[in-house]
Homo-oligomer: 230 residues x 2
């Protein structure tokens, strides 16, 4: 007998580790899921391709929207219109330079606010009762990405509730990336299909902030699993 | 001597009465203003044209963004992809039918959340410290447009502050449309350049919710002005 889904949800799916794990968790929790992937002018399309592969793996519908135009005037280093270089250092090193006073150069202005709002519109139109996004504690540390902070999450949740009668969920808001990976490994997330590197090369560069963080998270997660299997 | 602007702000400019008055007020308050006009799949482009004319009148830069794709799955009666008719009755009559429990059929899902988020991204990229939008008390009455309510405004303001270090202003949130028009008449807003009607005919239909509300607001505003001039 086919199980009745707990609820229908929309996952913001970037094709990276966090959002792919959020999708796996929603499915494991018994939700019916659809996914939304947003182009915003990033320098490569590897992550959109990864989102397609992840959605294909889980056999769920993937909606794709192009919001490039919104960031036409931004000089964020991630965007194809910017001449700024993507820093080849960890977030911790970048935060040390900013003193936690300004976002890192890969902060796309109010990106998550825009993505969550677009997701809410698509979710309401498709009969979903929640939007899920993969923000986690490491992202907002040192004010690197203020639109991943618990305060921002709470405000957007309230905005979605009052303006659209829909809820926002950030299941990893108090977890770090290693804990997310550890959960994902248990859930069997096909991490080989995900893409994190800010550069769009054949293989990940291994040197940008997100590559470094991904590698660290996997190292720690494997250690946790090793310990638990003792 | 040229005055130094109080601050640089971005106005969400639909080309209607409320946002045009919000722009006039910002300029009267000494702000440097830029405007943003959003296409969202509406059945006609009269309001974009009106926004261009208003921005031209005030000699300020107007940015235009197309967010049609976000509402591809919505059945809101305002959208060109929908077969639903735009109701030819006042908001009060529509609210009586919904019992105040659901938004009116011209509610575009989470539209203001999306517009404000896009505005925040553009504003940050252009060095503005505030986003201004023209939501007012009549819009949110009877839950017609939940994304015009004071609760929604407060939540979005908090989201912009925490996620983008920028503020959201809704100078008319506690005013009705007649009070806005009365202010606009004092500020010399060129209302002949604005467009309110949900239909895109040669002249306004006079029968849709927004035509009826506009006419009522002007009638009351002229009466207030008449009295004050006694």
């Amino acid at each position: 007998m086919k199980k009745v889904p707990v609820k229908k949800v929309l996952i913001l799916l970037s094709g990276g580790v966090d959002s792919s794990t959020a999708l796996a968790k929603a499915i494991a929790d018994g939700c019916e899921a659809i996914a939304l992937s947003v182009s915003y002018g990033q320098k490569h399309i590897k992550e959109i391709k990864a989102a397609e592969n992840i959605a294909g793996y889980y056999k769920i519908p993937l909606k794709k929207i192009d919001l490039n135009a919104v960031f036409a005037d931004s000089d964020c280093s991630l965007l194809s219109g910017s001449n700024r270089e993507i820093p080849l250092e960890s977030y911790a090193e970048q935060i040390e330079k900013t003193g936690g006073k300004t976002p890192v150069s890969t902060y796309v202005p109010f990106r998550n606010g825009l993505f969550i709002s677009a997701a809410a519109a698509v979710a309401i139109s498709n009969g979903c009762t929640a939007v899920i996004y993969g923000a986690h504690a490491d992202d907002s540390a040192g004010n690197a990405y203020p639109d991943c902070s618990p305060e921002f999450f709470a405000a957007m949740n309230e905005a979605l509730k009052t303006g659209g009668n829909i809820t926002l969920e950030a299941p990893f808001i108090n977890m770090n990336k290693a804990q997310i990976v550890e959960l994902g490994l248990r859930l069997g997330v096909p991490y080989d299909l995900t893409w994190s590197c800010y550069y769009g090369g054949e293989t990940p560069c291994g040197k940008c902030g997100t590559c470094i963080d991904r590698a660290n998270a996997f190292n720690i997660a494997y250690k946790i699993r090793g310990k638990n299997n003792d």
